[in-house]
């Protein structure tokens, strides 16, 4: 670009992953052996890096590339933007690679499609005079068609219809260059940012002729307000009056923003489009221009068209150029996830409040995206994928909740770091890495206190996910692996007696005991501070103790009677999809007995566990071992596994929460094939922090025990209150 270089590169990242492997137990003393073996292995994953820095550092950057360029097959480097021309010789000389210049607009659109498809909360609208200036949008399953208005020195208006089909439909010469050039002439201020600063302090009414200056008030017949601008600079038609720099800059900003907004609306109308994404240096990270453009679009479209902005707008060209170069690999066949640990996030909207941060992120900024092993898709049972929002509370919106949760995560941080270090007793640098982790996550939390929207909508889920990403970054892939191993071992020993006592009950009593077991199991959550305190101090705390902690019926949310009625009166469900939560007692003594009952009723079961570790949540590989061991004890489970009536699958996620719009494709296929008609979501992370309001096309059961007194209070209950939400979609 003119002043900043945006570099996109692909790297393989070696990092540690925890693996579990079942022992061969034949002929061994099972009583005293651990259930399975845990090993930490090196894994190589793919990552996309995007870095933005000032052009003055380009040589340093080229040295870095030279040192890290491992793939000797690389002969060509793709470049786009004005600087591609300027630095061509330097790049070719330094790297010995050929520079391929790519068309700016093609790269921009490719990059735009990529972020729209792969980064949740990429898109936001600007809202004036609101506590949260940015309103993030959920990713729509179909991103096309849209209008991209790129405001560089001029304005380009492009209609994008499919991945490869786009058309330049118009433009305007009045753009960022006009603001900058004309602004420099009028105010003798040279820098673009300074001009914007001037503009934000000015009064345009001193320079512009307003409707009320002509009419004395509003132009009522047409409904034009008196404050509308009738003629930009209409009051400066005199040689003998001085105008302040601020006022002229403000008037110029309004003139240009209004004009661009008006033209964009005219094009949107002609092509029947209602989504306009704005980009280019005029917009990039400047709340002042986002505000004036949004105003203009709202005014000229009468609210019918929405002005939208992108979190990673500055990277689009670089991403696109990268994708052009990686076409053989076709990065679009994979799913990608934003790595919160490695990304600097959106800069502050209030340069006056946090000038330091503004300077930092204005010149150096990065984004990392991990290539996910498996493609992610929507759960086919979502009622309306385009309006589905996983998260229950938007912490960018809810200042009270935001303060509480940020403090909560801060307070738990020392404990998490300690546990991480303790999980690797044999590692010499574990303490040091744990401290680095602690520092990094602490800094992220501080950033989020000041800029809640840095990574899109702030939610309990994003806070949890960021923590997991930071732990991974410092090679703590699974701090709870040993705890899970031990708890799975203990729980397995109790499985048969739990089943026996359940089988001794009458049908109705058994149904209740099963639900209670599921809920009691859910108490064992190391992610909840109230519980981890208990588990740390009372190691013998068990299933029966947990049951006694549970709230008596009626529960805080209680549709148990309807559920029981459904079981009694209705035909067995065809297939149930269960999203499991914790390892140990939860999965073994809570979920499996429940699964067993469903199987006995003739309902098939898909049991979905996380692909990767998060807290003490059961992972897919752990669930395989657990299932195998249960099958050895229980003929119902054994035959169900053999006859594929019980299927274990992975969710594609490594989060303690659940985003039903980003699930493993294999799971989605199976859900469709087996004609799933019941979805059971268990646990606070998956059923309360997320999906509490998720609407599904089939029956669903959301259950959890609230292990956080603040949240309980919010929902009108006490700690260990029970949520049992049985929902039937309205016909």
């Amino acid at each position: 670009g003119g002043s900043l270089t945006k570099l996109a590169y692909y790297s393989t990242v070696q990092h540690k992953v925890a693996r579990v492997r079942s022992f061969d137990h034949s002929g061994k003393d099972i009583e005293n052996e651990p259930l399975y073996e845990i090993s930490v292995q090196e894994e190589i994953t793919a990552r996309l890096h995007f870095i933005k820095f000032e052009n003055t550092y380009i040589e340093t950057c080229l040295d870095f590339i030279k040192d890290h360029l491992v793939n000797t097959e690389t002969k060509v480097i793709k470049a786009t933007g004005g600087g591609a021309y300027k630095f061509k010789d330097l790049i070719e000389k330094k790297l010995g690679l050929k520079v391929d210049k790519e068309d700016v607009m093609t790269c921009l659109i490719k990059g735009c499609n990529f972020v729209l498809r792969n980064i949740p909360h990429e898109v936001f609208a600007y809202q004036k005079d609101s506590d949260t200036e940015f309103r993030f949008q959920t990713n729509h399953p179909n991103i096309f068609p849209y209008l991209l208005v790129n405001i560089g020195s001029g304005v380009s208006i492009v209609k994008v219809e499919t991945e490869d089909k786009f058309e330049w439909i118009g433009g305007s010469s009045i753009g960022g260059g006009t603001f900058w050039g004309l602004g420099a002439l009028l105010t003798k201020t040279k820098k673009f940012d300074e001009l914007l600063q001037l503009a934000s302090k000015g009064q345009h009414t001193n320079v512009d002729m307003l409707v009320k200056d002509v009419y004395g008030g509003a132009y009522q017949t047409l409904g034009l307000s008196g404050n509308l601008i009738a003629s930009s600079f209409g009051k400066s038609t005199t040689a003998d009056k001085e105008f302040s720099k601020e006022d002229m800059a403000k008037s110029l900003l309004h003139m240009i923003s209004n004009d661009i907004g008006q033209l964009a609306c005219l094009y949107a109308k002609l092509h029947n489009l209602d989504k306009i994404y704005f980009g280019g240096f005029f917009i990039r990270g400047h709340p002042v221009t986002m505000r004036t453009i949004t105003y203009s679009i709202n005014f000229f479209s009468k609210g019918e068209v929405q002005a939208l902005f992108l979190r990673h707008e500055g990277y689009l060209g670089a991403i696109g150029a990268f994708l052009k170069g990686a076409e053989q690999d076709n990065p679009n066949q994979y799913s990608w996830g934003e790595n919160y640990a490695g990304s600097s996030g959106l800069m502050s909207t209030s340069p006056d409040v946090y000038p330091m941060q503004r300077t930092r992120s204005g010149t150096f900024d990065m984004l990392e995206m991990d290539r996910l092993e498996r493609p992610l898709v929507n759960l086919p049972l979502l009622k309306d994928p385009s309006t589905y929002i996983p998260d229950t509370v938007d912490l960018t919106d809810d200042a009270m909740a935001r303060k509480y949760w940020l403090t909560c995560f801060e307070e738990a941080l020392d404990g998490v770091a300690k546990r991480a270090a303790a999980s690797q007793p044999d590692s010499v640098d574990a303490l040091e890495r744990a401290e680095k982790f602690r520092q990094k996550y602490w800094n992220k939390l501080q950033t989020l206190r000041q800029q809640p929207f840095a990574y899109g909508t702030l939610t309990v889920r994003s806070l949890l996910d960021t923590r997991e990403h930071c732990l991974n970054e410092f090679n703590f892939p699974d701090p709870y692996s040993k705890v899970k191993q031990k708890e799975n071992g203990i729980a397995l020993k109790c499985f048969q007696s739990v089943i026996e006592s359940l089988d001794s009950l009458g049908w109705e009593e058994r149904q209740f005991a099963l639900v209670k077991g599921l809920l009691a199991g859910n108490v064992f959550d190391w992610g909840a501070k109230a519980v981890s305190d208990v588990l740390e101090s009372e190691p013998q705390f068990g299933f029966e103790e947990a049951k006694s902690k549970l709230q008596e019926r009626p529960w805080l949310e209680d549709s148990y009677s309807q559920w029981l009625e459904r079981l009694k009166e209705g035909p067995p469900h065809k297939c149930a999809l269960i999203f499991a939560d914790n390892s140990g007692i939860d999965i073994i003594l809570g979920v499996f007995p429940f699964v067993r009952e469903l199987l006995s009723r003739g309902t098939e079961v898909i049991l979905a566990c996380n692909s990767g570790p998060a807290l003490n949540d059961v992972t897919y590989s752990e669930s395989l071992i657990v299932a195998e061991r249960i099958a050895a004890m229980d003929p119902v489970i054994q035959s169900a596994l053999r006859e594929e009536k019980l299927l274990l699958v992975q969710t594609g996620s490594s989060s303690p929460c659940l985003d039903l719009s980003r699930l493993d494709k294999g799971l989605a296929v199976l859900v469709r094939e087996r004609k799933t008609d019941l979805v059971i979501i268990e646990g606070m992370g998956r059923a309360i922090h997320t999906n509490y309001y998720a609407a599904l096309k089939c029956e669903s059961l959301k259950l959890a025990v609230i292990k956080n007194s603040w949240l309980a209070d919010r929902l009108g209950g006490k700690i260990f209150s029970v949520i049992f939400k049985y929902e039937v979609p309205c016909k």
Binding site: G177, T178, G181, L185, S231, M255, Q262, L270
Partner: protein, 361 residues
């Protein structure tokens, strides 16, 4: 009852049309009160009033029949900031004793209503400016310009050599897009005499050109600004497509001569120091004109209208803008749209106001 006036008080200029009866009978002559006679003499024997009032003699419509009376229609303009002096004069000439109604349109009809009443003891009849504008356009076009056509266009607008001004027959005018460029711009879609709507407007109009020129060049009149512009070179100020791509940008079908960024070269300090005031005036004129052309073209497409009539005082003595509008509309629409112009550019609102007066009589 004479006198017959139509007044259009805009943001920058006041437009006044005056019907001078030429068929006054001897009897009427005797009865004509003294101050009425003095107004008639004052207006028709001068071409300038005070230091700022001007009668556009070349626009005068001769031997016109209005309401059964024969006479000449005069076109007079003065700056809006001289309104108080104008009202003062009306008061001194005892206009109020003539028992006539003063029909006025434009924003100033509302803004100065109170002043007319208190300073001049005059009751204004306020009329909507868009109604008046359309009425005026249709009327003047129908009576013609002293035997010539009121409406004209530029043939071969894309060819500087062959380009020439030719009369256009606007007998079946509908539908048409009417673009009125005063201080600001209003765009109307007109489907019949009574059926029209305001499609949109822009604040980048004549006032913007003039205002920016004052700030950039220190000029003090619209005429001076235009004169400077006619000697300037905007390509020194603007960044053209060829300045970025070395030539045409074929991917988008953009010719190298097209402006990519208005004032785009002014981002550079060296270039800011090397341009003249004339260059800046020209660039301002080109920027505003192209933008109006662009918005008008988009409106025409959205409304499915292919004739665009440009009026308003921004076009007065402004051939550069008219030719550019004709060119831009033709080029960017690939010949689908036609730009039309009217000789009485900025006076249609005032004419409409006069017609309202006669209609009500």
């Amino acid at each position: 009852v004479f006198p017959w006036f139509g007044l259009d008080i805009g943001g920058t200029l006041v437009k006044l049309v005056y019907f001078e009866p030429k068929d006054i009978t001897a009897e009427e002559e005797v009865e004509e009160v003294e101050n009425l006679k003095s107004i008639r003499k004052y207006l028709t024997s001068n071409v300038a009033y005070g230091s700022t009032g001007i009668r556009d003699v070349h626009l005068e419509l001769k031997d016109l029949t209005m309401c059964g009376r024969k006479g000449n229609l005069h076109f007079i303009r003065f700056p809006t900031h001289d309104m108080p002096a104008f009202i003062q004069m009306g008061s001194e000439k005892e206009f109020t004793s003539l028992h006539t109604t003063l029909c006025a349109t434009g924003g100033g009809a509302y803004k100065f209503e109170q002043d007319f009443r208190t300073m001049g003891d005059l009751q204004l009849r306020k009329l909507d400016e868009l109604d008046c504008l359309i009425k005026g356009v249709l009327y003047i076009d129908s009576v013609g310009f002293n035997g010539h056509s009121e409406c004209y266009y530029f043939e071969n607008p894309t060819d500087a050599e062959k380009c020439q001004k030719l009369p256009f027959n606007l007998e079946n005018p509908y539908p048409l897009l009417l673009v009125n460029i005063g201080s600001g711009v209003s765009i109307l879609a007109v489907y019949s005499k009574e059926n029209y709507k305001r499609v949109t407007g822009t604040s980048l109009g004549g006032g913007t050109f003039y205002g920016l020129c004052c700030l950039l060049t220190g000029c003090s009149t619209f005429e001076e600004a235009l004169e400077m512009a006619s000697h300037g070179d905007s390509t020194k100020v603007d960044k053209l497509v060829r300045d970025i791509y070395g030539g045409d940008y074929e991917r988008f079908g953009l010719p190298g001569w097209a402006v990519a960024s208005s004032f785009g070269n002014m981002m550079s300090k060296e270039k800011r120091e090397s341009v003249s005031k004339e260059d800046l005036a020209k660039a301002t004129l080109i920027t505003i004109t192209n933008n109006i052309g662009s918005i008008a073209r988009m409106c025409a497409l959205n409304e499915n209208i292919n004739r665009v009539v440009f009026v308003g005082n921004f076009l007065r003595i402004n051939t550069i803008s008219m030719r550019l509008l004709a060119y831009a509309l033709d080029y960017w629409s690939k010949g689908q749209l036609k730009a039309l112009f009217l000789e009485h550019e900025g006076y249609f609102g005032a004419v409409g106001a006069l017609l309202e007066l006669l209609d009500s009589a």
